[in-house]
Symmetry: C2
Subunit: 166 residues, 2 copies
């Protein structure tokens, strides 16, 4: 029934089965792999961005602005929803991005509580270069799967993700 361990998670599951045969550890086959893959992805991303003098957190904010399209402008609130961080973190990020000249902050003319964050020319160029680079690397990471498998995988992941989109 049990096949040979083929990756770290197979070994992990086998160890749990030996120690806790009373528990159903099947969920780990999926979820533990998701966590581990994400950890490796973070490292790969960090390496890719380093060549463009960007930290992952800088990239996250800049891409959110880039995706918004011209004039590449969003509120801090929109940015924190897009990046899943807390407001204190976002304030800090915007501060440092502004100091680096990649974004500028200006008052929201329509809501005096609000602020708008805009990509500068430098920021735009930097994020476009880094994003193209990232896609090349991610494409390579996925080269082990054919197009059909990738679509299948994306679909299954979407199903798991749907409940979180609230």
């Amino acid at each position: 029934m049990t096949q040979d361990a083929r990756d770290e998670v197979d070994r992990l599951v086998a160890a749990w089965r030996a120690e806790r045969p009373d528990l159903d550890v099947e969920p780990l086959q999926v979820l533990s792999r998701v966590s581990r893959l994400a950890k490796h992805l973070d490292r790969a991303r960090r390496a890719a961005f380093a060549e463009h003098d960007l930290e992952p957190w800088e990239f996250d904010v800049l891409t959110a602005l880039r995706r918004a399209g011209k004039p590449y402008e969003l509120s801090p609130g929109a940015l924190l929803r897009a990046t899943l961080v807390t407001s204190g973190t976002m304030t800090n990020r915007i501060d440092r991005l502004a100091q680096a000249g990649l974004v500028v902050r200006r008052p929201d003319p329509e809501d005096r509580r609000g602020v708008l964050v805009t990509l500068t020319e430098t920021g735009l160029a930097r994020v476009d270069a880094a994003f193209a680079d990232l896609l090349r690397r991610e494409h390579d990471l996925l080269s082990g799967l054919g197009p059909a498998d990738q679509r299948t995988l994306a679909g299954l992941l979407r199903t798991l993700l749907t409940p979180f989109d609230s």
Copy 2:
């Protein structure tokens, strides 16, 4: 060609296609979902462990020891390989776990540079309770997929993970 957006990542991909039609953003369909799902999983885990007075990082170390089987003992080096953190981090974690009475440190009798970290009775009981709880919750998270889909998903993820197992 483009189907309706059904989750956040579909919207993200659509936004990129509009802004950068020159790039092949298909890799995001898989990898962006992996990262997002991992982030949600972290939160779910944190909530599960809170009921057992454990932080995620505590759980990670304790489960590594638990999986090792009797006498629930590993070196710091083995622990950091199992948890993918750096040595400084592991030292800090062991310090605090020892202070909390969940593990004990003792000199390795066979290598005077070395140390062995052992689960205490308290630590064993705590990690067993938290792990059972976690599995229940993870089982629920996967309830959107049938057994066959779960196996398919696990298999595809394993393929992506294999190159990282070095």
